[in-house]
């Protein structure tokens, strides 16, 4: 399995997608923060 | 166009006058407190001595010698280089400084101060190192100019970074982090040059010029950008 070079290709692609997923996760968290802020601002009014 | 350049020259002359004043002020303060330069020189002396104590009998390759020289110079200079700006911020004198001088004048004065400081440190460190390690460069002029050009490039980049660091809340601990990636190319080339001069290689004019060009580029951009660091625009 490990001697198969396609295994490494697979790992590389996986790592790239994990990285992009983390980036998306960060954006997601930022959006939820803004959501909270918006609802608080609306409550005040 | 002519009027513009004339204006520039006149401004330059006024600048000069203020710069001398600023430099004088920095040197007075430095020699009365003597805090940073003493620590730097003591640091340089102690590291040189301890390196020679432990390794003088060994026959180190020239490349290692050159790395050691630059490491000693770099770390002894580090403290005082950022100190020149940090002191203004810590003692709260930056308002007094900026209400009486142009940002560009401050930059040039500090750059000159740092440059002189750096040269003083190298002038102390290098002969000490050569003496204790019992080595002598084949081509002394090449060796001296490699050290000189490296110092010029390093002091020009660290002046700007010192100004940046002085404005942050963490100061000296941050200085190492932000200066490392930007000083690496300079250190790299300086170490190579010094090594080849110790080995007795032929004069590498291209790399010496590279170091000078590097400092020229950095100084001219810093001159333009300094006001954005120093004050809100």
């Amino acid at each position: 399995m490990i001697s198969n070079p396609l295994f490494f290709v697979f790992i590389v692609v996986l790592i790239i997608w994990i990285g992009i997923a983390l980036l998306l996760f960060r954006i997601d968290r930022k959006i939820s923060l803004v959501e909270k802020e918006v609802s608080e601002a609306l409550d005040e009014k | 166009m002519i009027r513009r350049s004339l204006n520039f020259v006149i401004r330059g002359l006024i600048l000069q006058n203020r710069i001398v004043k600023l430099l004088k002020k920095d040197f007075y303060i430095e020699f009365r407190s003597r805090a940073s330069i003493n620590i730097s020189l003591a640091f340089a002396g102690i590291t040189t001595l301890s390196v020679s104590l432990t390794s003088a009998t060994m026959n180190l390759p020239f490349r290692v010698h050159s790395i050691l020289i630059w490491v000693i110079i770099f770390f002894s200079a580090m403290n005082s280089l950022s100190h020149i700006f940090i002191r203004e911020e810590e003692e709260g004198t930056s308002i007094f400084l900026s209400i009486h001088s142009e940002a560009e004048e401050i930059y040039i004065a500090k750059l000159l101060f740092n440059f002189i400081l750096f040269i003083v440190i190298t002038v102390v460190v290098t002969p000490l190192y050569l003496f204790f390690m019992q080595i002598w460069p084949e081509n002394f002029i090449f060796f001296a100019s490699s050290v000189f050009c490296g110092s010029t490039a390093l002091s020009s980049i660290t002046t700007t970074l010192g100004a940046i660091v002085a404005k942050t809340s963490m100061r000296s601990s941050l200085f190492t982090v932000i200066s490392f990636p930007l000083t690496i190319p300079v250190l790299w080339i300086s170490i190579n040059l010094t090594a080849s001069s110790l080995e007795g290689g032929s004069v590498d004019l291209l790399n010496l010029l590279f170091l000078l060009a590097f400092s020229g580029v950095i100084v001219s951009f810093s001159y333009l950008l300094f006001k954005f660091i120093w004050m809100e625009q």
Partner: protein
């Protein structure tokens, strides 16, 4: 925005091309398929750095919409940071496959590591300036200065100092064995990843703009 959404179509095609359509390279075999992912990711990390630097220059020249421009530079750097880390990881895997070591301090590797350090320094500077009203100016100056130094690093240092290893397999591979189909695939994936970068960048910028508008309308 539509242009960037093309990434949904192009990315699957790109994956198909790189994994199934392209023949394996001569020496490396199937492991050469890493190239089609590693190179675009590395390209994006430099592109993001460039975009962040250009935004900083625009910010210092125009001095308007300060908060938004500052956020744009920051967002680009944030994406670039992720892609730089990905480049380092994928690159070291490839190095392991082709040279047998994870890390060799080849000039190319060195320059990407220094780029990563510049990003890290930028983010630590940014967080250390939190309470400074002039954060936009100082962080922009840092990005611009490092953008000036980057070419020295990336182009001059590898040329002045040839790598300790003679010509690497990869470099030979790139020069000699890159066939037309490989070139097309590589180009295709570079475009696709650039679009992906642009897409994420647009989204984060929109979000920053919303945050800025929200904060400024908050206390009036």
């Amino acid at each position: 925005m539509f242009l960037y959404r093309l990434v949904y179509v192009l990315m699957p095609i790109g994956i198909f091309l790189s994994l199934l359509w392209v023949p394996p390279a001569n020496i490396l075999g199937d492991a050469s398929r890493i190239l089609y992912f590693h190179v675009p990711v590395a390209w994006v990390s430099f592109l993001a750095f460039l975009v962040a630097g250009l935004h900083s220059i625009a910010l210092l020249i125009k001095k308007s919409e300060i908060l938004y421009r500052e956020a744009m530079a920051y967002n680009s750097a944030a994406i670039g940071m992720v892609f730089t880390v990905l480049t380092v990881i994928t690159g070291s895997i490839w190095a392991k496959v082709s040279w047998g070591h994870f890390w060799n301090w080849d000039p190319r590797e060195t320059s990407i590591v220094i780029l990563m350090l510049i990003y890290i320094a930028y983010f630590s500077l940014f967080s250390a300036l939190k309470s400074n009203p002039n954060r936009w100016g100082i962080s922009s100056v840092y990005l611009i200065i490092s953008m000036i130094i980057a070419p020295f690093l990336i182009f001059i240092v590898p040329r002045v100092y040839p790598s300790l290893h003679p010509d690497t397999i990869i470099n030979q591979d790139k020069k000699i064995h890159l066939e037309a189909s490989m070139r097309i695939t590589l180009f295709f994936l570079v475009v696709t990843f650039t679009l992906l970068y642009g897409y994420i960048y647009k989204i984060t910028n929109k979000l920053s703009l919303i945050i800025i508008k929200l904060r400024s309308s908050h206390d009036i």
